[in-house]
Structure formats: structure tokens, C-alpha cells
Subunit: 471 residues, 3 copies
């Protein structure tokens, strides 16, 4: 093993688990892997990767497995959701502990958001998130960034348009934070109703700096606008652009074109009935849309699979990167596998800027508020037996929690103190989260409820100041 | 290859296929495998294991596959029940012959009891039973024993409680015989209605010696009894305990605690409607149940997956062995694979006591009685084309047969002689199995019928002494 | 690498992709592979085979995978149809390009006829067809031929009976052309209603020479005829037999017996309602059928799996080859994998006779006729986005097209010229395919329609000479 940074035994659950410097190192190693693709590597000889896919996938799974074999390792695979113990009601933690005793590294895809974190918490071996519901898909983001950097030599200062389903596309969620971290500006071009979730925008501004300008629906964007931009994120590392904020001129931005347009498939399988399902129409990205001079060098990207949102007439176009993206998946995943397995260390690049993580206070209590995201791993029946809800308090006014599993943000309505007045049960009261009482409760005594009903179920009575407050 | 015992080309269909000495040798080799887990072994380089799973499984399959890869071998896998030729009506024998021409060893899990024996009979390569219906699961038993021996240095003389579903749990069935063979005493603690099948008790007493004391349901066990023991098996190798029999004092036994409690999941997928299915309640094993001083050193075991029958509050308890059991699966299976593939020989340990097999007479006829177990491989449509029913006559009064495939025991009702009186068709008679006629028929002439209807369908008439005998 | 013929980077989509000399070379290499089966080969070390099975299969997939492992390579597998991106509507071309960037060679089974050609067109790596609907299964044919040659030393001049489902059995379709190419005569013995498709007979005569004599249904074959022969193909390489044609004496042919009888399973899953499905009866091949002296040396073959069409009473018969066939699959597939991967070259055998391909003119237009075969890959919704119908014009009177994907032949009804008279729209006319107009249209101007409706939908009017022509 060479000197340098070791990522051995680390997990890759969200893209935040890697600093920009570490990502750059992954890319250098991916270059090396790419160059040596012809000859068999023995870097991971004797190592076993467990490939656990609880959601349909061919490309991601085969890409990981090809990567592991190219490193000289072996793979054990479970793709048969219905045919697994989970179908019998087994918990993620049990599965993680057991498979962690068979394999040296685990790759997991799961429909529950936060599932990869649960597995990482219990496996005892490194865990890579290959997609957990609509949450994140960090290795997809790595190969997306790798593709951009290979074509443009840098990511900093680029302008990237994200197109299509920005609500459910987990690849989008990982990518947004990564682009921000690397100092790219982002144009959000969602299909109507599939805008980036509010909690992601909030995290972007709070933790990555920069600013987001949202076009209000009432602004009546010109119908001729080829790019239905509805929001723009300008990184704080672009000071002269930042100066334009607020009141960013979308027209000016667009006339300069974009460095890349990243198209995504409508994740119809995650749509609610209201979101339209199979019959909804999406604007197609094709040669015609990108015919303008300002798009002459725009990279056309897509995580694939595509259905109709990206036309085949672009397949032979030199701007199209999507098949290259897929191909880059193998060397990028080889690099990350070799690093997490400790088979390879890499020199840390100079301009490392660690993930901009803020140390938020943590709220963790067995009783009380649960994550309201119905797809969150932490609230599933099989997991409730052992998992304790846990949240970061990311804001105080209004009180805002972020689930540590699925990272959904929400504002709970009621709180109480575990030290009630004079210890009399009749004084066991709950308060509106925004009331002055809330500010007086010591953090260590704070109890948070998802609803008034939950508070009352635990024996708390409404504070008299809450009379008239809608339950 | 070293000198010593060779298990090459042997099958592992039931735990009886290995003597205690051979099992001890497997354990020694497993210790060796465990110690060398870090470096890649080349013991089975160039060998292929076929992993054929016709029932849901993740852990057992992945454990076998990890074991084969750690030995340097390769694996071909079929887990897709509906997607296999069997769905097209192919026989087990055909499948066995064909896969046996691709692979060097076959691991099979199948819902039909006796399926592994059929595969072993035709494959031409060693076959390992990874669970055949409710019949056996011998490698699970090996890792269970290995875990006990690692913690207690011996199995002989220990007192082991088996808890939960003792009727359908195949791991239980393999384990009972193994524990008896090694001289452990067994406390049966079944969930109501899920007692150990009668034919297993019978085999235990007949072939392993010792004695089984069953508490009659009418005895009104004290409600406070934490352990709802309904039967106790005392091995014949524990003479002073045996002396206590019959009239064993359950209370005394329990006050001394147990060396291990082996909990099993209710096999709801095998339940009949009467057995309650999803809604039935089972007593949970948790910290509270095991709080007594007498359980302070009790090993808590479970083959996993668990649902609710074993509480998570024991996970971090030093008595808990279940995750260790799972982890031991890899070195134990490495050992057994290396031995059956002939990649490794082991010195035979001194105190070998071969499996206590009794040479029972065999009954084998194309026409006549069939195994009454509806899950037996031998009576399935695709197998009837070539398989001949075959039974061991394990008792004469009453006449009791044991199917050589699924090992179910039963008492057929009617018999006849293939030499009927004076060769006259009118003398072709059948008799009650318990009648004096039965004793007079020479073994080579014996014909056994499952029912009177079957006898009559073959042209036999009831013996006149049977008048009034209920058909 | 040795000198000699290189098959590197070639595809194996139909058996026509290999000349007889190349096939002989595959067999020599298979002999070599067979001899060295004991020791691990490193011929394909570091190579990855992708095994993509979109239809149920155990034997073919496991055989390929075992072959690749025996060569020292690795395998990535997708068997989970419902669980793949194709279920999301992804095209074969996208899948091919992506998997082609992960793996060094692709093995594909797919229910659509012509799917393997589509994958081969886009993958960028060698592609092996492991069965595409009812079209072809060339590696099965290779192992069938290999088995015959091993038993009879030659294929030329042998008389082979094909038995059972000759309509849907893709193994049969590949085999027919291969036998013809090698100079064997073929007796067709179909189950009633499951005769060899007309387009295959036509191709056989047109491209492989020789002659086919069909017994008309009205001829009232003797009921006692054990072999319900309905057609005979006599290769042109058997001149003295050819002299007998036409008016071949079926009785005489049959009295001499056959060198091999190749039995196939009724492909019930492909049957139309009219073809009877599950309840139809098929004549069983068993010891009784083959009891005659003339069959004393007849090889009994079957691609397996079998259900009831081939009796188990032949399993131990020395004439039976079917388990040997399956076993030969591994060395034959090792040979083909090593050759296509360029890991091995082979000397070209002397008596090479390249595939008898006729250079037919090609018809290719975006609008106009589509393949009428509902199972053809080229007309599936996901493929229409980028695939252009393409046909060989294999006959002019009547105008007959052969789809380049599924190889189905058909006679389109209407044509037109892209240069209509004086450029006036009112002169845009379509004509019956058999009319004199058809002969006058220059090939480069030819437009072909599947139906009158299609022609009219494109603005063409019926030619006045077509009055009274049924639409």
C-alpha cells in the first residue's frame, strides 16, 4: 500500500461522506483503473463484495459487479426481493450484521430512504449506497462528476442545467450537493410538479452557501423559453455572479447557454396519483431543443435508463455523454471499492475542501416524534423494534428537524418539557412549537411531538395559551 | 493432500451422513479455515459449485457462495424458481444429471422433503442439502454444533433447550439427532401445537438410545413455568441421569438452568390452516425470560432469520450467539466443501462413534403403498415417472415404514402376499397389517397398501376375517 | 496466441455466422477443452461475460457460466426480467451499449425474435445468441452436431429424424440449416400442426441446395408407420440419393432406419390457442417405438428439458445421447467463448465450405412495410424509436421479403414508386405486388406496403387496374 489518504472502512452513504479532495482522489484512481482496464488487477483478490438489490436494477448492479471482478475480487448477489428473508419480516440490521460476516464490503439498493445508513450502522464492513428510495445515489454522482471533469477539466464555475424529474430522482439529489460543493452553478428545469424538494433547497443554502433564486409561478415565463428554468443556484464561490443576486436575470443566464444539461427519467414508479403517472407528458430533450448556437458545446447527460425524455436522434451527437457516463461507472466504482476496502491509498490533493457540514444539535428520544416520510427506513414495522428516531435540529424558528436516516426536513407542531412544573402530572403540558414556551425549554428536556394527538396520547394536556390553536 | 480420512465424493443429505468423528474433523478444519480467513485460499481453485435454490433464502445461499469464493472456487447460481426448467415439469433427476455435468459439487435447497436425496442419487457429483422442506438442513446443524463447542469446548453432557416451532423447523430436526449423537440432553419447549413429530421421537429412541419423557397435556404444568417444557430427551451416554428415568423431575432439571436455548422462527409458510398462521401468538424469548441466575451462562441461539420470537434487547447480551452462528457458517461450509471436493483430507479423531444406523429391511415395489407425506419428493408428478417408492421397515408390530426420501414414518393399514393361495385369482386377498396373516407372509412376498381402496384397485379382495374392519 | 483463424470480435447470432470449416475448428478446440477439464484454464482470465437472460432458463445459462469460469473468466448475470430496466421501457440498443461497456462478451436469451441481432448491432463486443424466441439457438446446435460427430465421426451423409415440435423449437431451426450445410439428410417428423415453418423450408432449398419432398396430408400415410414423416430433405451433396428425387420412397428411407432421432419438447408456452396448449397429446418416443432392428444404432437426442415426450425407460439405453449432449455444452461453449474473445485461434480445417449465403438485394425504408411477425424485435414499441425495418428481397415473383432480424419470410401485397408520375400528387398510386407495374419500378424507388390501408395512410391511391382487387 502506498502512503496517503486511507478511506478504508469508511462508508459511502451520501455524497457528503466524501470531501471534494477525496472525490478528486477517487477520480485520479479511476483514471488509473481506466488505463489498466486491459490487464486483470489483483488489487482485491480474495475479497468478497455482497451485492444486495432490493429494487429493480441491471445497470448499477452489473457495473458494480464488473468493477469488483476487474479488481480480482468476487461477488455474492441477492436480487430476489420476494425471495429474501426480508420478505419474512427480517430487519435491515439483522441482514446487515449477517451479510457483513460473509462479505468484505456491501453494496445495497433499497426502496426505503435511509436504508443504506441503517445497513452501514450495523454491517461492520464498509457499505456503499447504490440508491435508497428517492434519497441518494452517490456513486452515480461520482461518475457524473467524473464525466464532466473529463470533458471540461474542471467542475468549478460551470453552469449545469438539471432537467425533468427533480423531485424523485435520487441521482439529482446527490448531484445537486456535489455540484454546489465543487462550485458549479445550477439551473433547475423541472417538469411541472416535479420541482426539487424544499428541504434540499434549504440544505443547499444553509450548508453550501450561495443563493437560490426561485421564479414564482405567477411570473408568467415566456412560452418561447426553450428552458423552463424555475430556479437558479449560484454558488458562493462565484463572487461576481453572486453580486447579481437577488434579481438574477434568467434571460441573460440562458443566453449564455449551459455547460451541461442533465436529463432524468420521470420516476413514475414513485409518483402519487396526483402527479399524473403514466399519462403525463414531459418535454423531450432532442436535437431540436439544443439546436441553438449557445448549446453547441453543451454536454448532454442522463443517468439512464431513458424512456422517451431523451431522443435517440442525439445518440450519435458528439455532445452526448450518456453512454460514456455508463462506461465510466466501472473505473469509478473500481476506485471507490479499492479505496473502501483499503486495497489502495491515494495522495490527498492540495485543494481539499471538506464537506461543509454544520454541527447541528441532535434530538433523539424513544417516544415522541417520528419521521413523517412514509418511505423512511426508520419508521418501517420491521425496523421499529430496534431503531430509535433521531433528528438534527437544523433550525429553531420555526423549529425544523432533519431525519438522520432519510434526511427529510419538517416542522413539528408541538413540544413539551420532560421536566414539568413542580412534577405534578396535572402540569404535564404541551406547547405550540413556535410559542415562547418552546424557547424556554432546555435542550436536554425537549420532547417533540408530530401531532397534538401524539402529545395527548402520552398524557400531555394542551397549554391554555393554545386555546383556539387548530389541532 | 494430506493423509487421513477422505470425505471426497460423499454427499451431505442428512446429518446422519457424518459420524461424530467426521463432524469433529470438519470442526478442526473449520478452525483452520477461520484462522486463515484473511488470505485467499486456492484449495478449490478451478472447482465450480452449483447453488440451486428452489425456495427463498439469502443467508444460506450467500454463506455457501462466500465459502466457495474464499476457497478460490467459482459458483453458478439458480435462484429463480419460476424461471427454471422445473417450472416446465422437468424432473429432479434430469436437473441433477445435467447440473452434475457442469459443476463439481451441488448445493440444493428445495421445498420437497427428500429432494436432496433424489438429486444426490443422480448428480454424479457430491450434493449438499441446504434444506429440503421440513426435513433436514445439516450444514445449519454443523454450524450450530460448532458454535456450542467453541463456547463450551464440548457438546457431551450439555443440556440444550429447543424452543418454538419444533414441528416444521428443519434445522431442529437435524439438530436433535446431532445433539443425541454427541451425548447432549434435550429439553423440548414447543409452541403449543408445534411439537416434535412423532416419527422423529421414535427414531431418536430407537436409533440413538436414551429415553424420552413426555409430559402429558393433562398434567397441568404450572403457569409460572418460564420454560414450557413438554418433553425431555436424556441420552444414554449420561448414565446417572438415565437412572432417573422414567419419572424425570422436570422442575429439578429446569432449576439447574440450561447450557443453551435454541430459539426458532414459527415456520408460518408451512402451517396448516388449523395451526393458526399469521395471527397465532408465540412466547417471546427476551431478557426478562432469561433474567434468572440459572440462565446466567445460557447460550442464546437462533438459526435466523428471526421475526418477533427473539427480542432485540438480547442483541448486545454476551450470552447471545446468533450472529456468531451466522458468521461461523462460512468457515464450517468452507470445511465441508473442501472435504467433499477432496481438496482436503483430515486425520480421523480418536473417539469416533459412527452414526448409530440400524440395518432395517427395505420394502421396494413399483405398485402398492406410496409415501403419505404430501411434501415428499417421491410422490410428486414429475418424479413418479422414474422414482420407485422405497421404505425401511422400522417396526413390525405395528408394521411401520419409513420413507427413504423424506424419512416420514407411518403405519400402513393393509398388506398382501405376492404368492396367493394356490395361484387362484379368487384367492388374491389382502389383510389388516396387524393381523396374524401379516406375520406369515415371507418378506420377499410382502405387498403393502396405503388403503383398502388401493388394494382392491389392484385386484385384491378383503380377507373374510376382516369383515367389519373399518375401511 | 497461435497462428490461424481468428474469430475474435465476431458474433454468433445464427448458425450461419460460422462456416462448416469454422465449426470443425470449434469442435477441435472443444476436444482440447474437454481433455483439459480437470485443470483450471487461465485462457480468459480477467475477461467478463455478461449473461443476460430475459426468458426462463437454467441449463443454458449455467452451462455458459460454467464454461466461462472453467476458462478462468468471470460472469455478471441478469436473469430477473421483471426486475430490469427493460421493464421500464428501455430499448435493447441502450441495454446493449451499456452492458457492452461493462463486459467483454455478451450472452443473451430473449423472447423477441431477432433480439440477439439488435444487441450485436449495438454492443461493441461479441454477442452470442442463447435463444431468441422461436428463431435460433446456435450454441445448442453446435453441441448437437458435436455429439453426433463424436459418435459417428462425421455428419455428412447421415440421416437424421427431427421429431415433435418443429414449428416453435428454435433449436430445430438452427439445427436444420447446420445439418444441411454439413450434408446430412433430414426426415421431418412433426407433431400434427407443428410442421417446420414454410420460410425455413424455402430458405433450405434456395440457399443450401438439395430438395425437399413434402407428403401431402391427403396421402393417407399408413397408420402403422412408427415414424410420421411428413417431409424429407435430401442434401445436394448426396448425388445418388438426389437422383431418387422427386418421388422419394418414404417407406424405403424408413426401412433403413435413421442415424439419429432428435426429439423436442412441445413449446407449449409459444402455442396459439388453436394449437391446443396443455391438453394436446404427442406421440412419446420410448423403447417400444425404437425396438426395431433398424433403430439398433439410432442415436436418441433431445435438447432438454423434456417433459413426457421422451420416456425415462431410455435413460440407461446406450443409444441415448441427451445427457451427453448437455455435458458437451460446457467444452463447446468454452471453445466458442475463447474464440470470440480472441483468447484462442485455431487452424482452419481443409474442407472449409463457407456458409451458402446468397447476396439478396436489401429493402430498407423508414416508412412502409413492417415485419408481420408479432414476436419480431424490430416492431416492438421500445425498439421502433430507433430501429428501421430492413428486409432481404429473396424472391421477385411473388415478391417475397425476409426480415433481417427475425428471418421470417412473407409476401407483401402492395407496392409503389417513390417517383410518381410527373410529380403530381394525384398520380401517387399503389399497385398489387404481383402486377406488371411492380416489375417496372426501379429498385431504388421501390416502396412496399404491408396493406392497402398502410399505402392509403401515406397518401397513395389504388391504381385503377386494381379495381375489384380485394383490400
Amino acid at each position: 500500500m502506498s502512503d496517503g489518504m486511507s478511506l478504508a472502512k469508511r462508508n459511502l452513504v451520501t455524497i457528503d461522506d466524501l470531501s471534494t479532495g477525496e472525490i478528486e482522489s477517487v477520480f485520479s484512481l479511476a483514471d488509473e483503473m481506466s488505463a489498466g482496464m486491459g490487464q486483470q488487477s489483483n488489487l482485491c483478490k480474495g475479497k468478497i463484495m455482497a451485492s444486495l438489490f432490493f429494487e429493480p436494477s441491471t445497470r448499477t448492479r452489473l457495473s458494480f459487479e464488473a468493477a469488483m471482478y476487474r479488481l480480482g475480487g468476487n461477488v455474492i448477489t441477492a436480487v430476489d426481493i420476494g425471495a429474501t428473508s426480508l420478505a419474512k419480516g427480517e430487519s435491515l440490521a439483522d441482514m446487515a450484521r449477517i451479510v457483513g460476516s460473509y462479505a468484505d464490503i456491501i453494496v445495497i439498493r433499497h426502496p426505503w430512504e435511509g436504508a443504506a445508513k441503517v445497513v452501514a450502522d450495523y454491517a461492520g464492513v464498509p457499505v456503499i449506497n447504490a440508491g435508497d428510495g428517492g434519497h441518494q445515489h452517490p456513486t452515480q454522482t461520482l461518475l457524473d462528476l467524473y464525466t464532466i471533469r473529463k470533458e471540461r477539466q474542471t467542475i468549478k464555475g460551470l453552469k449545469i442545467a438539471l432537467w425533468g424529474d427533480l423531485k424523485y430522482g435520487r441521482t439529482i439529489h446527490s448531484l445537486i450537493f456535489a455540484l454546489a460543493k465543487f462550485g458549479a452553478s445550477i439551473l433547475f428545469c423541472p417538469s411541472p410538479g416535479l420541482e426539487v424538494p424544499e428541504h434540499i433547497i434549504r440544505k443547499l443554502v444553509a450548508e453550501y452557501g450561495g443563493d437560490v433564486e426561485v421564479i414564482k409561478a405567477s411570473e408568467n415565463k415566456p412560452k418561447t423559453d426553450a428552458f423552463p428554468v424555475d430556479a437558479v443556484y449560484i454558488t458562493s464561490s462565484s463572487p461576481h455572479q453572486l453580486a447579481m443576486m437577488p434579481g438574477i436575470n434568467f434571460e441573460v443566464e440562458l443566453k449564455k447557454g449551459v455547460d451541461a444539461i442533465y436529463v432524468t427519467r420521470p420516476q413514475k414508479e414513485r409518483f402519487t396519483a396526483a402527479e399524473g403517472g403514466e399519462n403525463k407528458k414531459y418535454q423531450v430533450v432532442d436535437k431540436h431543443l439544443l439546436k441553438g448556437k449557445e448549446f453547441s458545446k453543451t454536454l448532454v447527460m442522463h443517468p439512464l435508463p431513458r424512456i422517451d425524455e431523451l431522443a435517440c436522434d442525439l445518440d450519435a451527437d458528439p455532445r452526448s455523454q450518456y453512454f460514456k457516463q455508463a462506461a465510466h461507472g466501472v473505473p469509478v466504482r473500481m476506485a471507490i471499492l479499492a479505496l473502501l476496502l483499503g486495497a489502495k491509498n491515494v495522495p490527498v490533493s492540495r485543494d481539499d475542501s471538506p464537506a461543509p457540514k454544520i454541527e447541528y444539535p441532535v434530538y433523539r428520544r424513544d417516544s415522541g416524534v417520528k419521521c413523517p416520510n412514509t418511505k423512511c427506513a426508520s419508521i418501517q414495522k420491521s425496523e421499529l423494534k430496534y431503531l430509535h428516531p433521531e433528528f438534527k435540529i437544523v433550525n429553531h424558528e420555526p423549529l425544523t428537524l432533519r431525519c438522520v436516516y432519510c434526511e427529510h426536513g419538517f416542522e413539528p407542531e408541538y413540544i413539551a418539557s420532560s421536566e414539568w412544573h413542580e412534577g405534578k402530572l396535572s402540569n404535564k403540558k404541551y406547547h405550540a412549537a413556535g410559542s415562547h414556551w418552546a424557547r424556554d425549554i432546555k435542550p436536554e428536556n425537549l420532547i417533540i411531538f408530530a401531532s397534538a394527538a401524539e402529545a395527548e396520547a402520552q398524557g400531555f394536556k394542551p397549554n391554555h395559551y393554545m386555546e383556539g390553536h387548530p389541532k
